[in-house]
Structure formats: C-alpha cells, structure tokens
C-alpha cells in the first residue's frame, strides 16, 4: 500500500465484544484524519427510570445493564447506597462480597481470554473454529469459566442477574461446608490460571506502547475490588465521592455512550492494565511471581498484553477466593438493617473491565431521587479512539483487510462492554 491516498477502515459490526458498536477510521496517506468508535446500541436510560424506585431495588435493576458483569453493578449499587444511608456491613459480608466478585472476574476473564481474545492471536474467526485445533485449551477454558460461574451461582442462585445481593448484605449467605465444596475446583482453577499466564506469554504481541494515564481503585491492604481511593500514575488520589469533580462526561454525536475524560487532561485507561500497574504490590505472591516469570513487570504499556494481565488477575481471583473460603465464618445475620434515610452516596468498584461509578441521592422514604452511573467502557471510549489514531497510522502500509482486523483487535483488547456503555463493535478504515 502506498503512503498516498485516503482510505477508510470500517468495521460495521464489531465482533466478539459485548454489545453493538462500529469503528470508523479515515486516513489520508499515513495520517489519520478521523476516528470514531460509534456506539449505536440503543439507549436504555437506566438513570432516568431509577428515579422513583426504592433503593432496595437498585441492585436488581442496575444488574440488568449488563448480563456479563451484573455483580459489578450490584456491588457498586449496594456500596453507594450504604454510603448514602451511613450503614456499615458485617466484616464477613465484606469478605463474601469479594468472593462473589472473584467469581465474576474468573468467569468474565476466562470468557475474554480464551473465547473472545485468543482467536485474534491464533488467527481464528471464533472460539468454535479454534476448538477444532485446540480442543483441550477450549475445554479447559470452559471449565475455568464454569468454576467462576459456580461461585456466583452458589452465592447468588444463578450466573446471570444473581438474586442474593442486597443493601446491607445478602438475602441469604452460604454455609461454611457449602463454600468448602468449591475448594477442589478452585485449586484446579488456580493451576489452570498459572498455565494461562504461561500460555498467553507465548503469543505474539505487536510493538505498541502508549503513554497512558492509568486509573484504578487502590486499597492499602489488598488488591482493590470494592473499596479504596481512586488513584492514577499522573498524581490523582481521591475519594470516590470526588469522582465527578475530577472527571467529566461528554456527549458526542456518534455515540450513545458518553465519553469520560479527566478534567483538564483528557483520555485515560481503566481495567486490568491500570490495576496491574498501580497495584502490582498488592497482588498475592503467587500472582506476582507468575507475572515476573512471564516477564510482565509494571508499567505494562502495551495494550495487547492485557490478555496476559487478565491471566495474572485470574491467578489473583483464584488465590483470593481460596483464602476467603478457608477463613470464612458466616456473619451473625445475612444483612444489617437498612432504614430509610435521606442522603447521597457514591461508590466505585472494579468491574472486570475497569472502574464502575455509581451515585445515588435518596429521600427520607428511601426513594431514589437521582442516580448516576459511569460504566468502564464509556471511560475507556475516548482512550480507544486515541489508541486507534496512533495504531492505524502505524498500519498505513498494510493491506486494508489486515489493517482492519488489527484495528478490531486493538479494540477487543479493552474487552469493551457496549451493553454497559449503552453496546457492539463494527471497524471502518477509510483511506484516500
């Protein structure tokens, strides 16, 4: 391909992402003149219809924003509402919530690593085609995913939209013996995750490093999931309550998902890479060691290596789940009382794809007056466009079809969840 002329890279329906989106890149020679990640997922307007509902309904309603990460929504909702009401949960409930979240991380990361992402590296259209040559890998992936789902199912009744999470705790908590039954499977999952770290290290990564502002939750005593301060490698260090003072959401014409920016700075990156780089010291020893052996040392600035980082996080989630189950003593009651009270509360939790912000204002009857939700994919959206501007320029000399596939892959590194950000991905590169 010559360096002259305009070309358009377009992917009308982006595959292997959750939700509906398209990618459009316009190039003149090796210069990128326009990048649009178009999210055409129809708006569902949760923030509007949460108004007038009782706060106790928020975990069930917001779970329906996303079938892939319903627990993230439930956890951000309950933490934000508990802050609004000024209630504290039992320490055992706190641990159970981490375990619940680990289940979702295992399920979601296993799905993304093997079924959505790996086919790109190995040159397959999908996991079904991949299974023909790598049946054993796919079978392991399915079992791993199933173990994550088993944790969720045991604690929440079902994998998608579980029903046990409540403001103040859970409707019902598992017994010790029930949880211990998971340990054998989790030990297998841990070994398989360690294998996943080694396996993903054998993949070929494009040379593409960017100077990102990484944003993640940080907790001094653990790899943060639900509580902590929001930090970045550019000096951000705030309480979740200050989120809206430091971040802004912009409404652009080509997307039904709002674009988030750090006020005064611009795009930023949330998710596995950000967590790994900012919280490497909080990973359990086993996970750190596996990362180091795979030559994965923070700061990892190559987006394509996110598949490796997800594998390291799988190790974390298995180790953490095993630790929690070993220590678990059931709480004295499944949940504490959550009396109606006027208040405002914010919370940020780490969804598999990155931070998820919720804010609720409730009145003295417990009715939600206003709600605000900022999902991880809308936070990464601007960053995805910035990456593609750089990456498409690097691919200027490539044949259009391959360049298009590569750009699609760059988007998939984010594990975008467009249902969340409103949903699906199509890529369009236009070259002159």
């Amino acid at each position: 391909m010559s360096g002259r002329g305009t070309r358009t890279i377009k992917v009308d329906t982006l595959a292997r992402v959750e939700g509906e989106g398209a990618l459009y890149i316009k190039m003149a020679g090796d210069r990128v003149s326009d990048v649009k990640l178009r999210i055409y997922e129809p708006p569902r307007m949760f923030e509007a219809f949460l108004r007038g509902r009782h706060f106790s309904e928020a975990p069930d309603i917001t779970a329906r924003i996303c079938g892939i990460c319903p627990i993230a929504y439930q956890m951000s909702a309950v933490h934000a509402i508990e802050r609004a009401l000024g209630i504290k949960v039992d320490p055992a409930v706190r641990l159970l919530r981490r375990l619940f979240y680990c289940g979702e991380w295992i399920e979601s990361h296993a799905l993304h690593i093997y079924m959505l992402h790996a086919p790109d590296f190995l040159g397959y259209q999908d996991v079904i085609e991949m299974a023909k040559d790598h049946r054993e890998v796919v079978e392991k992936a399915l079992r791993l995913k199933k173990i994550g789902n088993r944790i969720v199912q045991l604690m929440g009744g079902r994998e998608i939209h579980p029903i046990s999470a409540a403001v103040g705790g859970f409707y019902k908590v598992p017994g010790k013996a029930q949880l211990r039954e998971l340990m054998g499977d989790l030990q297998w999952a841990l070994n398989t995750s360690l294998e996943a770290v080694r396996w993903t290290s054998t993949l070929q990564f494009p040379d593409f490093e960017q100077d990102y502002e990484f944003v993640a939750l940080r907790n001094p005593s653990e790899y943060a999931l639900c509580e902590g301060r929001l930090v970045s490698n550019h000096g951000l260090d705030i309480d979740p309550a200050e989120y809206e003072d430091r971040f802004a959401e912009l409404h652009v014409k080509h997307s039904n998902a709002l674009h988030s920016v750090v006020r005064g700075r611009g795009s930023y990156l949330v998710g596995p890479l950000a967590r790994f780089n900012l919280n490497f010291d909080k990973l359990p020893e086993t996970a750190r060691q596996a990362a180091t052996e795979a030559k994965l040392v923070p700061p990892v600035k190559n987006l394509f290596r996110s598949i490796q980082v997800r594998a390291v996080e799988l190790v974390f989630a298995c180790v953490e789940a095993l630790r929690i189950i070993a220590e678990y003593e059931p709480p004295s009651a499944p949940r504490v009382d959550a009396p109606n009270r006027r208040g405002v509360g914010q919370a940020i939790t780490e969804a598999p794809r990155g931070i998820l912000y919720h804010r609720y204002a409730v009145d003295e009857k417990g009715t939600i007056v206003t709600a605000k939700i900022v999902p991880p994919t809308s936070q990464n959206q601007r960053r995805i466009e910035d990456d593609l501007r750089e990456y498409a320029a690097q691919l200027a000399a490539w044949p259009l079809e391959e360049a298009t596939w590569k750009c699609e892959q760059a988007v998939r590194c984010y594990d975008p969840c467009i249902s969340c950000a409103t949903h699906f991905l199509k890529v369009i590169i236009e070259r002159e």
Binding site: A15, M45, F49, K145, Y171
Partner: protein, 268 residues
C-alpha cells in the same frame, strides 16, 4: 411454535442459527456461552452462522432458527426486525426484553424526551421511539422464551425440540409449583413476605423464595395469573399501592397482565 415440518436439507448440512440483538443487556445470548457443558455439543449439531458476540464470521441468511434478544426502541431497529424475520424460518425470542419490552419499557409510562434529557447532555443526538416494545408487536414470533435472564436448560430444550420438530417441554404454570416441588415453606404465608410467585411463570427454579426473598417476576405472567387476588393479598400484607404497582412494573412491566395490574393500583 411453527408446526411446519423441517424442510429436508442436503445431506450433511447442519441447521443454521443466527443470534440477533436489540435493546438488551446481552445476558440471554450469553446463556448460550454459559452452557459450558453443552456448548461444544450444540455447536457440533448446528452451524452458528451469525453470532457477533462470539464470532467475526458473519454468514448471511437465511437461517433455520433465529434467536432474538432485546426489545424494539428505535426506528432503525423496527425496520431491522422485519429483515431478521424474513431471514429466519423459525423465530424465537429470548428473555424479558424481547418478550415483554424489558426494564427499559418503564419509559412507556413516561415522557421519553424527559428521560433522554436526564441522561444525555445533547438530546437531539439521540434517536429513540416513545415505547419499548416486544418483538411480537412487530413480527410473528414462533416461540417466546421467558426469563430475565432465560434459563439456559430451557434454551437447549427449545433448540433441540425445534430441530426435532416437536413441542418443547417448557411449563407455563407458576413459580409456586417449583416451590412446592422443592419443599420450600411458603415465605408469603409463613413470613408475610410479598411474593410475585403465584402470578409468575416458572422457569427459575423458585430461586428467590429459596434465598429468603419474594419472587420479583423475572419470568413474566404465568398462563392464567390472578393478579387482582394477589394485589389484595399484598394489601393485607401492608404493601402500599405504590409498592404494589412497582412490583408489577419491573422486567416484564409491559406484559399486558402485569401492565394492567400495575395500572389498577396506580392510575397513570
């Protein structure tokens, strides 16, 4: 369910499936990938020809079975579903959004423009219909699979039945039946907890009552729901009309039996 016998295909050709998404959370189509033990078996028996969430390979129709997730909320989607229907021999809707409009049908009682203003800074960028409606309001549907989310075992049963040309074994009785079968003590009778179980179709395995909470209606109205009777029972339990109306107005709010029940205790 289409009673038409399956047309003979050329020997060795597998029946094709297309998966289509409208306004929804992706959870119902994810159920297919969540069937970890059955997935490789299913893909051995059929050709997944169109499933963007799982594959880049998008084969154009016609398809033997179309699985449709999500409700219709935009002009574009109202046209797209016509096209999807034309391409699918058997059309199956998955879940509460496709079958009853979903949680996003709560807009149907409100001014949608006001909703857009709440969420979006520049409302003129957003194109949406006033109502969120189920697929069957737009095109003929062969089978509606209930649930928010669907039950993956019911989905596999439905696909198997469709391929075999038989009626699927999917019950339309209430959640109460499942509670009885699990020998659950009735939480409504014993503990006074408001529970939609008596008017809600089975399918979840009576999950909520098994987890010490009242059913909140994920599978929509059962075959012959007596919502008026349940409403009076809720009043006996001390529920306000506002609470009762909200109980009927969740994930299956626009299913007519629940819609009517919600309006009877709270005029709109």
């Amino acid at each position: 369910m289409s009673s038409e016998p399956k047309r003979k295909k050329k020997a060795g050709a597998k029946p094709t499936i297309g998966v289509f998404k409208f306004a929804s959370c992706d959870g119902c189509q994810l159920s297919l990938l969540d069937a970890e033990d059955e997935l490789l078996g299913v893909v051995g028996a059929v050709e997944i020809a169109y499933f963007p969430e799982a594959s880049r390979n998008m084969v154009d129709g016609p398809y033997d079975i179309g699985l449709v997730e999500g409700s219709i909320t935009t002009h574009h989607d109202a046209e797209r579903i016509q096209e999807v229907r034309r391409k699918c021999k058997t059309l199956i809707t998955l879940g509460a959004c496709a079958t009853a409009g979903g949680i996003q049908a709560l807009r149907n009682w409100k001014d949608v423009d006001e909703f857009i203003r709440v969420v979006y800074a520049t409302p003129q960028f957003v194109s949406t219909l006033k109502l969120s409606t189920p697929i069957a309001e737009h095109v003929p549907v062969d089978f509606e699979l209930r649930g928010c989310p669907i039950n993956k075992y019911q989905l596999i049963e439905l696909i198997s039945a469709t391929l075999a040309g038989r009626k699927p074994n999917i019950p339309t009785y209430s959640v109460c039946m499942e509670c009885k079968r699990k020998a659950n003590v009735c939480i409504s009778v014993a503990r006074g907890i408001a529970c939609l179980g008596p008017v809600t179709q089975a399918g979840c395995g009576a999950l909520c009552p098994s987890y010490d909470r009242g059913c909140y209606g994920c599978f929509g109205p059962m075959e012959t729901p007596n919502t008026a009777s349940l409403t009076s029972q809720f009043r006996v339990l001390g529920q306000s009309d506002d609470q009762i109306s909200r109980a009927f107005r969740s994930f299956n709010a626009w299913a007519w039996q629940f819609r009517r029940a919600s309006e009877e205790c709270k005029p709109t």
